[in-house]
Amino acid sequence: MNYLEFEKPLAEIEGKAEELRAMARQNKGMDVEKEAAALDRKAADMLKDLYKSLDPWRKCQVARHPDRPHCRDYIDALFTEYTPLAGDRNFADDHAVMGGMARLDGRPVVVIGHEKGHDTKTRIERNFGMARPEGYRKAIRLMDLAHRFGLPVITLVDTPGAYPGKGAEERGQAEAIARSTQKCLEIGVPLVSVIIGEGGSGGAVAFATANRIAMLEHSIYSVISPEGCASILWKDAEKMREAAEALRLTAQDLQKLGVIDRIVAEPLGGAQRGRADTIAAVGKAIETMLKELSGRSPERLVRDRREKFLAMGQKGLAA
C-alpha cells in the first residue's frame, strides 16, 4: 500500500497493528489480538474521517495515486475480445494512448484511453500517460472507424496533460488536439467518457468532448495543474493548495457547473483501496450512459453534443 502524505497518521496506526501481529507470529503465546483490533478500529475511523471531506488538493493526490486502477485495468476487467489497434499511419504508435475494438456486455465498441503505467518500466513506456500528437491522431482514426461502422465510443481519461516535448510540438501537438476535439464533435455514434483519474487540460478535452461525461468521485478535471496555476498566478508553486481550491477542479464542483453529468462513487479510502469495486462501478456508469443514448439517430447524437457544449457554463456556479 502506498500512503499519501495526508494519510501518514493512518499509515502509522496500520503499521503498528501489523507490527504487533508480526511479533505475535514470532513469539508463540503472545496475545496481541485485542490491542491490534483496537488499532484496526482506530485506523478505520481515521480513514472514514480523512475521506469524509477531502479538500481539493487532497483529491488531486488521490486522483494521481499510483495504485488507482488505470485504463488497462478497466479494459481488462470490463471488456472482452479487446483488440488493440495501433498507430496514426503517419509517424508512430503512441503508447500513452490505448485504443482498439472490444465488446462491452457482448456489444462491439471502440475504447480509447490514456494509460499511465504501473511500475517504472511501464510508466516510461507509457510516457506517464502524456500523449504526443500520434496519440490524438490514433484516437481520431479510431473514432472515424467507430463512426463508419456505427460503434459506440468509450473514452477513459487519465492524463497529467499533453507532453511538453520538442518533437511533440514540431509534429503539431496543438493541431492534433484540436482535430481530436473536432472529431469527437463530428461522429454520429454515442460517445461516452469517464474521467478515472486526472483530466489534464487539452489532452483530456481531446477525448472527453462527449455526449455523456462521468467522473470518479475523487478524480479531477482542470484547465491547468494546481502547481502550474500556483506558479503563474501566485508566483509560488507551493501555493498549490490555494490554486486547487480556486480552480474548482473536483467532480463535485464540475457537476454543479454542469460540465459533467454524473459522479461515480469510490470505495471508502479511494479507488486504490477497492480497485475491483471501482472498476465495476465505472462499468455500470458506462452502461447507464450508453443506455440513455440508445436509439438516437446519428444526426441527433451530433446535434445533442454540440448543443451540450454550446450551452455549457452559461450559468456559472449559480446553476
Binding site: P164, K166, A174, R179, V223, I232, R248, L249, R306, L317
Partner: protein
C-alpha cells in the same frame, strides 16, 4: 457591384479612416531598440520601420487597417456570467478584469466586426493580447460563437486573428470548455460551406492554439509569431536541453508543415482579399480606385462582373 461603390466609397471612407494618434509620442522597438514615432508606427501597422519586427496591434487598430476605408460595425457579443467560479488568487478576478478594462478601454479580450475588405463582405474577429494576455474565457468563447453565427446568417467568411497566452485560468474548467465550444463554432462555418481563415499573431499558445486557431481552412501567420501548445520554457524544463533557434516561431512551423503561409502584416490585407474571393468563387478584386465614370463606361462596368455576366460570355473573355 457597380461603379458607385467601387469609386465613391473609398473616397468617402478615407475621410474617416485616419485614426486619432497621440502626437509627439515615441516608442522603442523591443527587437532592435530603434525609437519610433507613434504616427509613423501606426501608419506602418505597428511594424518596426527599421527591422520589420511585428509589434502587438489592438483589434481596433487592426480592423481600421483591414476594412475598406477603416469602416466596420461591431458585432454584439452576449455577456457571460461574471466571475463564474468566484475565483481569487492574490487578487480577486473582478478586480483584475476592471484593471484590464481600464488599461485597454475594451470590454474583453476579443472584438468582432463586420464590414468589407476589397469590397468583399466579411466577418472578422481579433483577439487582444493587451487584455489579460488575450486569454480565452467565456467571453472569448461567446465572441467566436457570435462571429460564426453572424457569418452563417450573412453568408460571409470569417477571418480570425488569434493572440493569446492560452485559457483564462480564473475561469478554470469553463475556460477549458471553450475549446470544444469554439470548435462547435468552426463546425457551423464548415456546415454552411463558408471559408474560415485564421491569422496567427504573436503569441498564440495553449488551449487557443489547440482549438479554433488551428482549425482554419487556410492558416496564415505573421512573421516571427510564437505559435505553440506548450511554451518554450516549459519544454526546456521538461527535456532539460536548449531549444533550437527560432523554435515554435511562424517560420519554423511553416518549415514543419504546420502553416500555409507566413505573411508580412503590410501584405496581409491584400492576401486575405485574394484568398477570400477565390474561396467564394468571386472575380478578382478591383485594385485601387476606379477612374471617374464616363456615361458609356458606366454601362460597361455594370456587366464587367463575370458573376453577373452570362456564362457563355466567359471563355470569350479569357
Amino acid at each position: 457591384m457597380n461603379w458607385i461603390t467601387n469609386y465613391v466609397r473609398p473616397k468617402i471612407n478615407s475621410l474617416f479612416s485616419r485614426r486619432e494618434v497621440p502626437e509627439n509620442l515615441w516608442s522603442k522597438c523591443p527587437e532592435c531598440g530603434t525609437m519610433l514615432f507613434h504616427r509613423e508606427l501606426a501608419d506602418n501597422l505597428n511594424v518596426c520601420t527599421s527591422c520589420d519586427h511585428h509589434m502587438a496591434i489592438t483589434p481596433r487598430a487592426r480592423f481600421e487597417g483591414l476594412f475598406d476605408g477603416g469602416i466596420f460595425a461591431e458585432v454584439k457579443v452576449p455577456e457571460p456570467v461574471a466571475d463564474p467560479l468566484q475565483f481569487r488568487d492574490q487578487k480577486r478576478y473582478p478586480d483584475r478584469m476592471k484593471a484590464a478594462q481600464k488599461a485597454t478601454g475594451e470590454r474583453e479580450a476579443m472584438l468582432v466586426a463586420e464590414g468589407e475588405i476589397g469590397r468583399t463582405p466579411v466577418v472578422a474577429a481579433a483577439q487582444d493580447f493587451s487584455f489579460m494576455g488575450g486569454s480565452m474565457g467565456m467571453y472569448v468563447g461567446n465572441a467566436i460563437v457570435a462571429a460564426a453565427e453572424r457569418a452563417v446568417q450573412m453568408k460571409r467568411p470569417l477571418i480570425l486573428f488569434s493572440a493569446a497566452g492560452g485559457a483564462r485560468m480564473q475561469e478554470g474548467i469553463l475556460s477549458l470548455m471553450q475549446m470544444p465550444r469554439t470548435t462547435v463554432a468552426v463546425q457551423m462555418l464548415k456546415d454552411a460551406g463558408l471559408p474560415y481563415i485564421v491569422v496567427l499573431t504573436h503569441p498564440t499558445t495553449g488551449g487557443v492554439t489547440a482549438s479554433y486557431a488551428m482549425l482554419g481552412d487556410v492558416q496564415i501567420a505573421e512573421p516571427g509569431a510564437l505559435i505553440c501548445f506548450a511554451g518554450p520554457r516549459v519544454i526546456e524544463q521538461t527535456i532539460r536541453e536548449k531549444l533550437p533557434e527560432g523554435f515554435q516561431r511562424a517560420e519554423y512551423l511553416l518549415d514543419h508543415g504546420m502553416l500555409d503561409r507566413v505573411t508580412h502584416r503590410r501584405a496581409l490585407r491584400e492576401e486575405l482579399i485574394t484568398l477570400t474571393r477565390m474561396l467564394l468563387a468571386l472575380p478578382p478584386a478591383v485594385k485601387g480606385d476606379l477612374p471617374p465614370p464616363e456615361p458609356e463606361a458606366a454601362a460597361t462596368a455594370a456587366t464587367a462582373d463575370p458573376a453577373e455576366a452570362p456564362a457563355e460570355a466567359e471563355p470569350a473573355k479569357s
